[in-house]
């Protein structure tokens, strides 16, 4: 009668790993908090796989992303040899997507990093300075936020003409920091009145020292969440611009460029639209989920952001 299941159910469950062993650094603590929920686990796994696939693209890609395999053939649907089909010039779509993920992810993370740093510094300075400086700096942000970002980008592109990848990263980064600045400003403004900042000032620390040592580090939490959201936004934005023909210049493969390649023949070449699109959706979804979990981990009072 003493079957194992009964014994097993009576057995004391393994003690949860003490959090202290995992929280040696803030980073691993955050990772642990995100890993606790299933959605966070899936998102992290997906992103880890994606980054690994992007890094290993030269070894993973079954074909050369730039070489037409059969110049006369044209586009062919998914098959065993070409899982995601081939495009109009007979290039393997899976290989192009693998190489494309490198460009798309690099553009997104660099542009988001740039936007976060500029936003953190600008907003931090405004909030820390307070008074009229703060007011003037924030009125500029109000105006910049009133311009729809895509139109601001198109205006600059219309005036500048075509741009290369480096300029594109700069452009996307420099049109994305306004909301980060507003966030950082709110944090810095609240920090200004906190006791430890007042104490540091009373002890005679120079303003720039108080700013760098006490204000900036404490304002990075919300900015980290904003930066994560920004990565997801930029992946989609770059794909959209590339789709319009004003993003990463052809023939560099990016997810948006592959979709653009299939836009004239969408009726017969659905795989050129669907597969890169699914990669985009998966990435955007995973990044959003990570941002959501991150927000919950950094601000436990607001566990379930809408």
């Amino acid at each position: 009668m003493a079957d194992t299941p009964v014994v097993a159910s009576l057995a004391i469950p393994a003690l949860p790993t003490p959090a202290s062993s995992l929280s040696s650094t803030p980073f691993s603590r955050l990772l642990h908090l995100m890993w606790r929920e299933r959605s966070g686990r899936w998102a992290l796994l997906f992103l880890a796989l994606l980054v690994a696939a992007a890094l290993a693209a030269p070894w993973l890609a079954p074909f050369d992303p730039a070489r037409p395999l059969d110049p006369g053939a044209g586009a062919a649907g998914p098959s065993l040899s070409h899982w995601f089909g081939t495009d109009l010039t007979s290039r393997d779509v899976l290989s192009r997507m693998l190489y494309g993920s490198r460009v798309s992810l690099a553009v997104a993370s660099l542009a988001a990093l740039l936007a976060s740093v500029v936003g953190l510094l600008y907003g931090g300075v405004a909030g820390f300075a307070g008074g009229r400086t703060d007011g003037a700096m924030m009125r500029l942000i109000d105006a910049l936020l009133a311009i729809p970002r895509i139109l601001l980008l198109l205006t600059v592109l219309a005036l500048w003409g075509t741009v290369n990848v480096r300029a594109l990263i700069l452009l996307i980064g420099l049109t994305g920091w306004f909301s980060v600045a507003r966030l950082a400003r709110a944090e810095a403004s609240a920090l200004r009145e906190r006791e430890f900042v007042l104490a540091a000032r009373a002890l005679g620390a120079a303003p720039w020292r108080v700013f760098v040592r006490y204000v900036l580090p404490h304002a990075t939490g919300p900015v980290l969440v904003a930066a994560t959201i920004a990565i997801g936004q930029v992946v989609v934005l770059e794909a959209g611009l590339s789709y319009l023909g004003y993003g990463v210049p052809q023939p560099t493969p990016t997810w948006g460029n592959i979709i653009r390649d299939g836009r004239e023949t969408i009726a017969s070449t659905w795989w050129l639209t669907v597969f890169p699109g699914l990669a985009l959706v998966g990435t955007a979804l995973a990044v959003n989920t990570v941002a959501d979990r991150l927000r919950a981990a950094l601000n436990p009072r607001q566990l379930h952001a809408p």
Binding site: L151, L159, W160, V236, L244, R263, V281, P306
Partner: protein, 323 residues
């Protein structure tokens, strides 16, 4: 209320002046001349280039140019299109109502659907249906609009042939239709582009609405409604929902800027002849006055939209009127 409106209008004007100044800086920070794309044409002799510069006032000091530029904008003059040789104002006056039609259909449909879905979810929070709807709304909210547009186009226009592939009216038949038939023709063409944007909005709205309802359901007034014997449906739909609409109204204001920019891809893909499409077409012709005009008009719409949203919020919540 009047003082509140007056203050918001003043702020709006200040924002627009700053936006115009930013665009002026952008024009002059551009490498070469703003119409350099046109000058690439070999037929432009140096004398003609100098003449063009003089005509555009580019030989004047920067301060003079700035005053002229702002004065021109204040009069509502948005310059002349380089590619089409007609005032940008005329081009945008044609395109704006079409964008507004698309936007209002998408806004109305998206918010109505979102509020209903969110309320139904909150009424059965934690149930199987709530969880499924939650998954769907999270995924939908993350969809890139241009990709959703392409997918709907592929599915419903190309494969199933239920809806037209592009445009706002049937290019040959529209002229010969009765007034009612013309209306139906436009609605027919409007269906897919509006649905694309409405779906994404509905997903975001549903998530906010669900959370807002769950926030008010533990309140005392909800308990008294229940104690009075109001049915559970009545409690959620009549008593709680009314108090949980404020976040949604705020969201409505935040949705406007996203719609002006967000309709760009949808307009481009469905060949909807609105402002977004005008901007993209002008960009391919390096016709910067049109792109710039679109940006200025869109920013003005954003400012107006945020004032409208504030007024709506004040109308819904008397506490905000004093603020």
């Amino acid at each position: 209320m009047i003082a509140f409106l007056f203050r918001r209008l003043l702020q709006g004007v200040a924002i627009l002046v700053t936006v115009a100044t930013v665009t002026f800086v952008l024009i002059h920070a551009a490498p070469g001349e703003p119409f350099a794309g046109q000058l690439d044409d070999v037929r432009f002799t140096p004398a003609m280039q100098a003449e063009l510069r003089r005509q555009r006032g580019l030989d004047q000091p920067l301060a003079t140019q700035y005053v002229r530029y702002m004065g021109r904008l204040a009069r509502g003059d948005l310059d002349v299109s380089l590619a089409q040789q007609r005032p940008v104002r005329t081009i945008l006056a044609e395109a704006l109502p079409r964008t507004l039609l698309l936007m209002s259909a998408a806004l109305f449909g998206g918010f109505a659907l979102g509020i209903v879905v969110g309320a139904l979810q909150a009424a059965r929070a934690g149930s199987w249906a709530d969880r499924v709807a939650g998954r769907i709304t999270v995924a939908l909210a993350a969809l890139p609009d241009f990709w959703l547009a392409l997918t709907l186009l592929l599915l419903f226009s190309v494969r199933l042939r239920w809806f037209p592939v592009s445009g706002m009216v049937d290019p040959t038949m529209h002229e010969y239709l009765s007034p009612l038939g013309r209306l139906r023709d436009v609605a027919w063409h409007l269906a897919l582009p509006a649905t694309t944007m409405a779906l994404i909005f509905a997903a975001v709205v549903a998530r906010y609405q669900r959370q807002a309802l769950l926030d008010v359901l533990p309140d005392d007034f909800v308990r008294s409604a229940r104690a009075k014997g109001v049915s559970e449906r009545g409690v959620v739909l009549r008593h709680a929902l009314r108090n949980a609409l404020l976040p949604t109204i705020t969201l409505f204001g935040m949705a406007l800027p996203a719609l002006v920019g967000g309709s760009l891809f949808v307009e481009f893909i469905f060949a909807w002849p609105g402002m977004g499409r005008a901007a993209v077409e002008a960009l391919s012709a390096r016709d910067y006055p049109v792109v710039l005009g679109t940006t200025l008009v869109s920013s003005a719409l954003v400012v107006v939209g945020s004032i409208v949203a504030d007024l709506l919020a004040a109308a819904a919540d008397p506490r905000l009127r004093r603020g």
